[in-house]
């Protein structure tokens, strides 16, 4: 079973919720879950789960390398490249590695077979055991690299669960391609939100993504002082069950700031999250 925790808006507590859920499940029956930190631009889950990262793998995109002795500067590569990552100007063929999406078109279509593909490192994958036996893996995008999606896709292919192991994917904020790459193939989507206009606006977008991908979803409302009627109405209208409401409390904010999960601060949350999980299991 694969559960992705996403949100739309940043800072609503995705990672806090995901890590808390992981620890809650680890306490139940084996095997403890596999936690995937898919926020490859700004990964934070290690601050809560303290993994000992002992396995690594580079993420590389295959980019074109032109053999100038075979190249006739016919321009076919430039014609087929949709990203303008390779161009021919007179007698020179230029490659722009950071525009390249690694599709292989230019190499396949070069009439002189003058293009080979070479790996261009853009990120790294890491794996290890976290606290409470939680299996942990993450992807980290290299600084200055624009594209998160290849790192996410490689992470999901690399970190495979053991038989019967629940997978929790911690997504990045937003609703565009990196989040979609994380959510695809999930069985359930947990949306962490906050009861404010910003939270609701972005929850609507996240719910649309869930609907578009055909994945059932539920909501966790974080930092609730008092109920926000518009949000409750939206969830009811879209039949999104509100699985948990976490109150706003300074003790929680301060604890989370220091890398504590919700159960570390209030142990009762263990039962709350296990209940959330049971609801999800029954739903699927």
């Amino acid at each position: 079973m694969i559960i992705t925790i996403a949100s739309g808006k940043g800072g609503t507590g995705k990672t806090t919720v995901a890590a808390s859920l992981a620890i809650s499940l680890a306490a139940e029956q084996p095997p403890p879950p596999l936690f995937l930190d898919c926020d490859v631009e700004a990964p934070n889950a290690h601050l809560f789960l303290h993994p000992k990262l002992d396995k690594q793998q580079d993420v590389a995109l295959l980019i074109p390398s032109v053999d100038e002795t075979r190249c006739t500067h016919c321009g076919k590569c430039a014609e087929v490249c949709q990203y303008h990552a390779i161009t021919v100007l007179g007698q020179k063929t230029l490659v722009f590695p950071q525009l390249c999406h690694g599709c292989g078109s230019c190499a396949a279509l070069c009439p002189e077979k003058a293009i080979t593909e070479i790996p261009n490192r853009m990120g790294i994958l890491e794996h290890g055991l976290g606290r409470d036996g939680v299996a942990f893996a993450r992807g980290v995008l290299n600084l200055g690299e624009p594209m998160a999606v290849p790192v996410i896709r490689h992470l999901l292919a690399w970190a495979q669960p053991a038989s019967g192991q629940v997978v929790l994917r911690d997504a990045s904020p937003g609703t565009s391609c990196p989040v979609v790459a994380t959510i695809r193939g999930s069985d359930y989507l947990l949306l962490a939100t906050e009861p404010t206009p910003f939270g609701l606006h972005d929850l609507r977008l996240a719910a649309q993504v869930a609907a578009k991908l055909g994945i059932p979803a539920g909501v966790i409302i974080n930092r609730e002082n008092s109920p926000y009627p518009d949000m409750d109405a939206f969830c009811a209208e879209k039949r999104l069950p509100v699985l948990l409401r976490i109150p706003f409390k300074r003790a929680i904010a301060e604890g989370v700031a220091q890398g504590k999960t919700l159960l570390d601060i209030h142990p009762e949350y263990g039962d709350c999250f296990r209940q959330v999980f049971r609801h999800i299991s029954r739903r699927l």
């Binding site: 430039a78 949709q82 990203y83 303008h84 990552a85 161009t87 021919v88 100007l89 007179g90 020179k92 230029l94 722009f96 950071q98 525009l99 200055g144 690299e145 624009p146």
Partner: protein
């Protein structure tokens, strides 16, 4: 000598376009006869690598120099490889003004990209 200038509309007296990669129009001018022609920039709408597409575009015009407000790093690399010299408009407001200043060597020539890229090249 033929040069190209980026412009917001077709005409030597129109307001210049400060962008190279996503400029609306390219004006190709023979600076000796002042004959000119206008081309739409096919790179303007590119998802990425607009500067490269624009460079490819003007390469076919057989120009010795390009004048614009700024050249991103991809455009810079492409134009340099193509052997096209790059100059900045400075405070010129029209192509006419820029041509006059270019002829007397008053425009700033560029040796390095003048702005950061939008897609990951610094």
């Amino acid at each position: 000598m033929r040069i190209v200038l980026t412009s917001t509309s077709p005409g030597l007296e129109a307001a210049i376009d400060p962008r190279f990669g996503r400029a609306d129009y390219f004006l190709v001018v023979d600076i000796d006869t002042l004959e000119w022609e206008v081309h739409t920039n096919l790179g303007a709408n590119a998802a990425g690598g607009a500067g490269i597409k624009a460079a490819q575009c003007i390469f076919n015009f057989n120009v010795a120099a390009a004048i614009s407000g700024e050249f991103g790093p991809n455009a810079f690399d492409a134009l340099q490889a193509a052997g096209i010299a790059m100059y900045r408009y400075g405070d010129c407001r029209t192509a006419s003004q820029a041509i006059e200043r270019f002829k007397v060597g008053q425009l700033e020539k560029i040796g390095a990209p003048t702005r950061q890229g939008h897609h990951g090249r610094g």
